[in-house]
Symmetry: C2
Subunit: 444 residues, 2 copies
């Protein structure tokens, strides 16, 4: 046995030797979301050593997480294995690791799998949910950043209906069937619409013991309109559309606390509900705090130079949600297009630097934004034009399919969407969790 082992061992190390002997310098990308992925694609096969670090072995298409949470998609459909990319790229390696710090002086990334020194670093660790210090909310609310959170939320929603369908106590029953969504941005609006459709088209058919009138979906927004970034008429369209679907929209309302069975609003109103979904705030990922002596802006985002580097560290780029990059005086929003464009810029800046050139400062090109509300209904702004309804919805579908990586994932997603559209059916409504609370049922 010894023989092939040592042989294999040698072989094993050849790989690292080849990589570390490369003429090119080492670029480390910390975080493989939209920003990191875009940077990697630009840097691949450019005679640089590329090390992609992420705590997951896949790139997650976050914009569709809410569809996993509402049983519209299987979780595998919106994740793409990162080694499916590195295997095609000479000089690129993937490291599955949790980043615990960055030593800017030593130029090294510290991970739970050891140190990874770099020549250039692209920090793209994204964002986390911001509960603004409300511990009771943080303790009881669901949020959507990770794949497992989407699966947990799906399990929970389906479970609420299972429990309600055999719950004799009317008050508890209605609390089980009341879902509170906080945040009227795209995520909150899309989740509210998708959840309402899941309830009406699927769960009420599954549970003849439950009537539509018993179910409540409440969307709570602190501002005086939904989708604040959108033009007024689209905001109003979204508001009317959600209302007509049966979603109760509460504007100028704020959630200030929660228990496992209730949600407390500013002013004292208490809503009996076992489900609180929070999409009312994001902050830069913890990693931002590990950059010692670096200036942080609002939401803990790293203040970057016009070329997206950290002041005093021209080899360290910060992109995406983590970066506070001013555009006409205000930080750019935390959204995928910004991250992608910044990842692209950072990568091109590194390539230029290697060729002794430099790039003009980063400029964000706003290609517009969109949100889907429900079946055949969405709002979109693009190139100064406004769209709503069916056309915007089709545009939304096509764009999301386009940005998904992998032919297979596009196929699976398209299949699920077609299936849901034709049959009003969501076949991923599985409760994959093991623990469940016991409740009473009727006995003959």
């Amino acid at each position: 046995m010894m023989s092939w082992q040592s042989m294999a061992g040698l072989h094993g190390y050849k790989h690292f030797i080849r990589v570390t002997d490369m003429s090119g310098k080492r670029v480390v990308i910390a975080g493989m979301g939209f920003g990191g992925l875009r940077a990697a694609k630009v840097l691949a096969e450019k005679d640089l050593e590329l090390i992609m670090v992420d705590r997951n072995n896949y790139h997650l298409f976050q914009p569709l997480l809410y569809q996993v949470a509402t049983a519209g998609l299987e979780q595998e459909a919106i994740a793409y294995p990162l080694r499916g990319l590195t295997r095609r790229w000479n000089g690129a390696t993937f490291l599955l690791a949790e980043i615990s710090g960055i030593d800017l002086e030593k130029k090294s990334v510290l991970t739970d799998s050891g140190e990874v020194p770099y020549d250039y670093l692209v920090v793209a660790a994204g964002s986390r949910t911001n509960f603004f210090g409300m511990e009771s909310v943080a303790a009881h609310a669901f949020d959507l950043k990770r794949l497992d959170q989407a699966e947990d939320l799906r399990n929970h929603i389906l479970l609420m209906f299972e429990e309600a369908s055999r719950e004799p106590d009317l008050l508890r029953r209605s609390a089980l069937l009341t879902f509170v969504i906080v945040g009227g941005g795209p995520t909150g609006v899309e989740f509210a619409g998708a959840l309402r459709e899941l309830v009406v088209h699927v769960l009420l058919q599954d549970h003849p013991a439950i009537s539509a009138a018993e179910t409540r979906i409440i969307l709570v927004e602190a501002a005086d309109s939904l989708l604040v970034a959108m033009p007024t008429d689209l905001q109003q369209y979204a508001y009317r559309k959600l209302g007509s679907m049966g979603v109760e929209v509460m504007l100028e309302s704020r959630v200030v606390g929660a228990t496992a069975e209730s949600v407390v609003l500013h002013g004292g109103t208490v809503i009996a509900s076992h489900t609180l979904f929070w999409s009312a705030g994001v902050a830069a990922a913890e990693l931002a705090g590990y950059l010692h002596g670096v200036e942080l802006g609002s939401s803990g985002r790293v203040v970057v130079q016009p070329d997206l580097t950290i002041k005093g560290y021209p080899d360290v780029f910060v992109v995406g949600d983590m970066a506070s990059c001013l555009d006409k005086g205000v930080p750019l929003p935390m959204m995928a297009p910004v991250a992608s464009q910044q990842g692209d810029y950072a990568a091109r800046a590194i390539l230029a630097r290697e060729q002794g050139r430099s790039l003009p400062p980063f400029r964000y090109v706003d290609k517009g934004s969109m949100a889907t509300i429900g079946r055949s209904s969405a709002v979109a702004v693009a190139a100064g034009l406004k769209f709503r309804g069916y056309l915007a919805w089709i545009a939304w579908l096509l764009l999301h399919l386009y940005y998904l990586i992998g032919f297979r994932n596009r196929l699976v997603v398209m299949m699920n969407w077609t299936y849901a559209y034709w049959f009003h059916e969501r076949l991923v409504r599985l409760i994959t969790a093991k623990k469940r609370r016991a409740v009473a049922i009727d006995s003959k």
Copy 2:
């Protein structure tokens, strides 16, 4: 708010009233595997009240679990939501509950969601893995009965390669890349073949630092041949085929112990391995033990009468893996076709009983058996004929597609198989677990 609540409450109870007022008697099916599902399909819409009880809200297609564990299929593809069936069946309801006992005298099923009285009961709770009292094996081995176990095993296998690819210690590295599979039955053979293909076609491409020679897949079988239920020449074909694929088959060997990092064989041989997969034994589900005063046969299976009822309880049928049903003196094997035929028989027996008729004793019709070994290779026995190789493999694929429930699932599975066949790619290779052990990596 009170108003619509009470209204809804009333509405909610109407449903139960309708059901409990049905002219027909109540049939409870405990367990919705192959036996329970078949029974439900026969009993549906026959003017009987039908209550299907399962701890999961889906029917699981267990024969393909090993493909989920080897990243060939997403877990959702082999599960079908049970309410997708009950919603179409008048008088049928589903109860998500854990069964804690059966009161044969009171004719009531005890669950964590309350008691469910029955007129007829079909017990179809299946089987669990049997480690024959070897605690160290039970503690460290993976087995495949549940969906979450398949996901755990997939995560573990992928993780072993992630860790090995950055493991400097050659001995630990080879232990991480050594996979021991116990049991040369269909499950062990199919898993060994699928794992070898995952390693060769996918993981070795993903990890250029790992050479094929470093990876070992060892299939351990106590008997002197694989697939003991098959004809000798097919056994030998399977043996040769696995060998040519690079699986080390150890016949007449027994695993007697394990730690997290080793597997101990009878005779003292110790194999350094972090992965032990156990498919060497099954026993009736715990539920069999809850039937007080009922005779249990080998593997804790319930001894049934020729009509599949329990002696002295003509209204209680036991079907599938749980039932010890003698055929020419020996108990029928624990496999899906037996369960389906018994579920079908029990359902028809109940319908006959209601019409004052009775059925002749149950007779199992052996339609043959098959096992796939790898790409384009399987063995099958049907109608006294023997098949092997490509033809048997195609037959295997078509039969499994046919027995999957749901058009969508068939589509997804077919798509994954086609994709794997054409591109040698498995895009479900996601590590969805959160915890990981830290190991050292090379640093520049």
